[in-house]
C-alpha cells in the first residue's frame, strides 16, 4: 500500500502534464491551473505520508515500479529509494513546489500560454521527483535531463523575446557540458560495478582504487558544477532570469540547481574515497561563493542580484560538501530553498506591483505601498544575511564552523568574506527597493498595488519557514536534522573533531558580527549617506566596471570558446560544401548517367529476351492446353487412372513385387 503511495508521488504531476498538455486547449486556463495545482498538492500529501513513515521508521527502503530494461550485465529498474535524504528532498521539492504553484496561479494570471506554463511546471515536478527519488544513476540521469529540459522550456517561456530564447539556449548548452561529465561518470560506475543501483554501488565502493574513485568523483563533480551553476559553468544561471519569476524561484533557486548538491551528498561515499575530488569540490564551492557575491554587489536588476546570490549560496553548499559536512550542505539546501524562494517570489511581487519593472534604479520607497511584500522580503533578507535566529544563520554558520574546525582556514576566510558581501548586497537590495525616495516612473507610480492573496499567502508561509526553518538543525551538530540524516550523510572514515562549545560560540559570534557589519555598511551607503555608492564607484572605476560587467566572463568565454567553436563550425561547413558535397554530387551524377544506361539496356535487351521466352512459353502451352477439356468425367477418369497407378506403386513398395 505504502509502496503504491511512493509511486503515486511523481504520477500525479505526470497525469496533470498529460491532461493539460493534450486537452488543455479545450478548456479554460483557470481549470488547467486548478488541475496543475491539485496534482502538486496531492503529490505533496503523498510525499508527506512517505516522509512521516520514514521519520518514524528511520530506515531506507526501495520501491521498484517496474523493470525498465536489461541486457548483458545491465539491469535497470525504474525504482525509487526512500531514505532520509530523499525524504528531506521530497518535502522541499513538493512543499516549496506547491507554494510556488499557488503563487504562480496568481502571478501568471492572464498571461498568454498560461496552460503551457503549468504543463512545463508539472513536467518539471515529475522530473525533479524522479531525480530525488530514483534508486539508481540512470533514473537520476533521466530526472537530471528532464529538469534541464524544463528549465530550457521555462527560461524560453517568452520565446518571442530574443534575449529569452538566447538565455534558454545558453542554459541548455552550458548544461550539456556538465551532463557529458555526468554521463561519463555513469559509464565509469557501470564498468566498475556492473550495476547502477545506489545501494549496490555504494556498498562496494571499497573495491575501487583511489584513482578510479577520484575519476568517477571528478566526472560527477563536472555534472554537479553544470547543474548547480558553480565556477566555471555558472554563467547560465544569471541569464536564466529571463524566465517568469516563479520559474526562477522554483527551478533556479529552490530545487533544480540544488540537484548537484543532492548528487554529491547521495554519492558522498565515492567522494570520501577521493581526497583530491573533495578538495576540488571545496575550492570550487568557496571560490564560487566569494566570486558570485562580488558580482552581486553592483548589479542593478533585482532578479540578477538574487541570481548571483543563488550561485553564491550554492557555493556554500559545495564548500560544505567539500569539507565533509554533508548534513550542513543539506541543511543549507533546505533553508536556502525557503528563503531564496521567498526572496524570488517577493521580488516577483515587487515586479508585479511595478508592472514588470526590474531595474533597482527605478524603485525605492516601496515599503509603505506594498507592506506585506516588504515585510516578507525583509524576513528573507535577514534570513540569508545570517541574522539569528532566522534559518540562514544556523545553516551558514554550521558550514563556516565546519570549514574552521577542519583547519581549512583559507576556505573559512572565503566563506566569511562571502557572508559579509551577502549581507551587504542583500541589504543594499532591500534599501534600494523599499527605502529612500521613490525613483519609480510617474505613470507606473499610480498603479502600484499589493499582490492578490494567491500570491501573498504563499509568501507568508515561506516567510514563516524562513523564520523558523533553521530550528530543524538546532543545536548545531546535534539538531533533529543531524540525527535524521545520520545514516546517509556522515562521511566515511572521518573522525569528527571534538570542538569546545567556546569555539563554536565564538564562531557564531563572528558570523553574527560579519552579518551585522554588512548590514551596517549597506545602511551607511544606501540609507544614511546615499551619495557614497556613486562616490566609491567614481573613485575606482576599473573595479566598478569589472564587477558591473561580471568580470567579463561571458565575453572571455565568447572569445575563447564560442567564437572558436563557431570558426571550427564554419570550417567544417566549408569542408562539407566543397569536399563532401562535391563527392556526393559526383556520385549522384555518376549514378544518374549509369541509371540512364541501365534503363536503356533493360528496355531493349532484357525485356526483349523476356518477351522471346514468354512467346515460346505461350506456344508450348497452347498444345498442352488441349488436355484440359472442362468435362468432369474426363477429370474423373484421370483421377481414377492416377489412383490406380499410385496404389500400384504403394503395393510394390510394401510387398516388393508387381501386382500387374
Amino acid at each position: 500500500m505504502s509502496d503504491f503511495i511512493v509511486i503515486l508521488i511523481p504520477v500525479f504531476p505526470l497525469l496533470a502534464v498529460l491532461i493539460n498538455g493534450l486537452l488543455g486547449h479545450r478548456y479554460s486556463p483557470e481549470l488547467a491551473g486548478k488541475i496543475a495545482l491539485s496534482s502538486v498538492g496531492l503529490s505533496f500529501l503523498c510525499a508527506l505520508t512517505v516522509f512521516t513513515s520514514t521519520v518514524s521508521s528511520g530506515t531506507a527502503r526501495e520501491v521498484i515500479a517496474y523493470s525498465w530494461f536489461f541486457g548483458g550485465d545491465l539491469h535497470v529498474n525504474l525504482g525509487f529509494l526512500i531514505d532520509p535524504l530523499t525524504g528531506i528532498m521530497l518535502m522541499v521539492v513538493t512543499g516549496v513546489g506547491f507554494l510556488i504553484h499557488v503563487y504562480s496561479v496568481g502571478y501568471m494570471h492572464g498571461e498568454e500560454g498560461f496552460t503551457r506554463f503549468f504543463v512545463y511546471m508539472n513536467l518539471f515536478m515529475v522530473s525533479m521527483l524522479l531525480l530525488v527519488m530514483g534508486n539508481n544513476f540512470l533514473v537520476l540521469f533521466i530526472g537530471w535531463e528532464g529538469v534541464g529540459l524544463c528549465s530550457y522550456l521555462l527560461i524560453g517561456y517568452y520565446f518571442s523575446k530574443v534575449s529569452a530564447a538566447k538565455a534558454a539556449t545558453k542554459a541548455f548548452v552550458v548544461n550539456r557540458i556538465g551532463d557529458a561529465g555526468f554521463l561519463l561518470a555513469i559509464f565509469l560506475v557501470f564498468v566498475n560495478f556492473k550495476t547502477l543501483d545506489y545501494t549496490k554501488v555504494l556498498a562496494n565502493v571499497g573495491q575501487l582504487s583511489t584513482e578510479m574513485a577520484t575519476a568517477i568523483a571528478l566526472c560527477l563533480l563536472v555534472g554537479a558544477v553544470g547543474k548547480s551553476a558553480q565556477l566555471p559553468l555558472y554563467i547560465w544561471l544569471p541569464d536564466a532570469m529571463e524566465g517568469p519569476t516563479p520559474v526562477s524561484a522554483l527551478i533556479h533557486a529552490a530545487t533544480m540547481v540544488t540537484a548537484g548538491v543532492y548528487m554529491v551528498v547521495r554519492t558522498h561515499v565515492l567522494f570520501d574515497m577521493a581526497p583530491i575530488a573533495m578538495g576540488t569540490v571545496a575550492v570550487i564551492g568557496g571560490a564560487t561563493a566569494l566570486f558570485a557575491a562580488t558580482i552581486g554587489l553592483v548589479q542593478t536588476d533585482i532578479k540578477r542580484v538574487l541570481a548571483y546570490s543563488t550561485v553564491s549560496q550554492l557555493g556554500y553548499m559545495f564548500l560544505a560538501c567539500g569539507v565533509g559536512a554533508y548534513v550542513a550542505a543539506i541543511f543549507h539546501l533546505v533553508t536556502h530553498a525557503f528563503f531564496k524562494a521567498l526572496l524570488f517570489l517577493s521580488a516577483g511581487s515587487v515586479i508585479h506591483a511595478l508592472g514588470g519593472e526590474q531595474d533597482l534604479r527605478k524603485m525605492g520607497g516601496l515599503a509603505k505601498k506594498i507592506p506585506i511584500t516588504y515585510k516578507v522580503f525583509l524576513i528573507g533578507t535577514l534570513a540569508i544575511a545570517g541574522i539569528p535566529p532566522l534559518a540562514g544563520f544556523w545553516s551558514k554558520d554550521e558550514i563556516m564552523a565546519h570549514a574552521f574546525v577542519n583547519h581549512h582556514y583559507g576556505l573559512y576566510a572565503m566563506a566569511a568574506i562571502g557572508a559579509f558581501l551577502t549581507s551587504f548586497y542583500m541589504f543594499r537590495l532591500t534599501y534600494l527597493t523599499f527605502f529612500g525616495t521613490s525613483r519609480v516612473e510617474p505613470e507606473v507610480e499610480h498603479h502600484i498595488h499589493e499582490s492578490p492573496s494567491k500570491m501573498t499567502v504563499p509568501l507568508m508561509i515561506l516567510a514563516g519557514l524562513a523564520l523558523l526553518g533553521g530550528f530543524i538543525g538546532v543545536p548545531p551538530e546535534h539538531g533533529w536534522l543531524h540525527g535524521f540524516l545520520a545514516g546517509v550523510a556522515i562521511p566515511i572514515g572521518v573522525v569528527p573533531h571534538e570542538v569546545s562549545a567556546g569555539t563554536l560560540l565564538g564562531l557564531m559570534g563572528v558570523a553574527v558580527g560579519i552579518a551585522l557589519a554588512g548590514w551596517g555598511l549597506a545602511h551607511y551607503m544606501y540609507s544614511l549617506h546615499t551619495k557614497a555608492a556613486d562616490e566609491w564607484a567614481e573613485r575606482s572605476p576599473a573595479v566598478y566596471r569589472t564587477l558591473l560587467n561580471k568580470y567579463y566572463v561571458d565575453e572571455i568565454y565568447d572569445v575563447i570558446f564560442v567564437e572558436s567553436f563557431k570558426k571550427i563550425g564554419r570550417a567544417w561547413d566549408w569542408f562539407d560544401q566543397n569536399v563532401i558535397d562535391r563527392v556526393v554530387r559526383g556520385i549522384g551524377h555518376g549514378a544518374d548517367s549509369s541509371g540512364a544506361g541501365i534503363t536503356w539496356t533493360e528496355k531493349h535487351v532484357i525485356y526483349a529476351g523476356l518477351n522471346v521466352v514468354g512467346y515460346a512459353n505461350h506456344l508450348l502451352a497452347w498444345s498442352w492446353r488441349k488436355l484440359q477439356t472442362g468435362l468432369v468425367n474426363h477429370y474423373a477418369a484421370v483421377i481414377v487412372i492416377g489412383l490406380f497407378i499410385l496404389v500400384h506403386f504403394v503395393l510394390v513398395w510394401l510387398t516388393g513385387k508387381s501386382v500387374l
Binding site: Q628, G630, L631, N633, A636, V640
Partner: protein, 100 residues
C-alpha cells in the same frame, strides 16, 4: 458358408460398374445412381469384413455411409435441378466451363 472372397468379388464388380457408369454415362441422374452403386459396393465390403472379423465397427461404418449417401443424393439432386434450371442441361458433357 459363402467365403469372404465372394463378397469381395461382388463388391469389386459393383464398384467397377459404378465407376464406369460415372466415367462413361452422360445423364446426370445416371451418374448420380452410379455413385450410389459405388457407395453400396463399399458397404458390402464393410459388412462382409465386419461379419468375418466379428467386429461391429464395420457395420457402424456402413450405417454412416448410408446416412452420408442419403445426404449426398439430396445435395446432388439439388445441384442437378439448379443446373437444369439455369442452363437447361441434362447431360454432363454440356457443362464444360471448367477449363482454360
Amino acid at each position: 458358408m459363402i467365403p469372404l472372397s465372394a463378397y469381395v468379388a461382388l463388391s469389386a464388380i459393383l464398384f467397377i460398374t459404378g465407376l464406369l457408369g460415372v466415367l462413361i454415362r452422360r445423364n446426370f441422374i445416371i451418374v448420380l445412381m452410379s455413385v450410389e452403386i459405388m457407395l453400396n459396393a463399399a458397404n458390402i465390403n464393410l459388412v462382409a469384413f465386419s461379419h468375418y472379423l466379428e467386429s461391429m465397427a464395420g457395420q457402424m461404418a456402413a450405417l454412416f455411409v448410408i446416412a452420408i449417401a442419403a445426404g449426398e443424393a439430396a445435395v446432388g439432386l439439388a445441384i442437378i435441378i439448379v443446373v437444369f434450371r439455369g442452363k437447361i442441361a441434362t447431360n454432363v458433357d454440356q457443362i464444360n466451363l471448367l477449363k482454360w
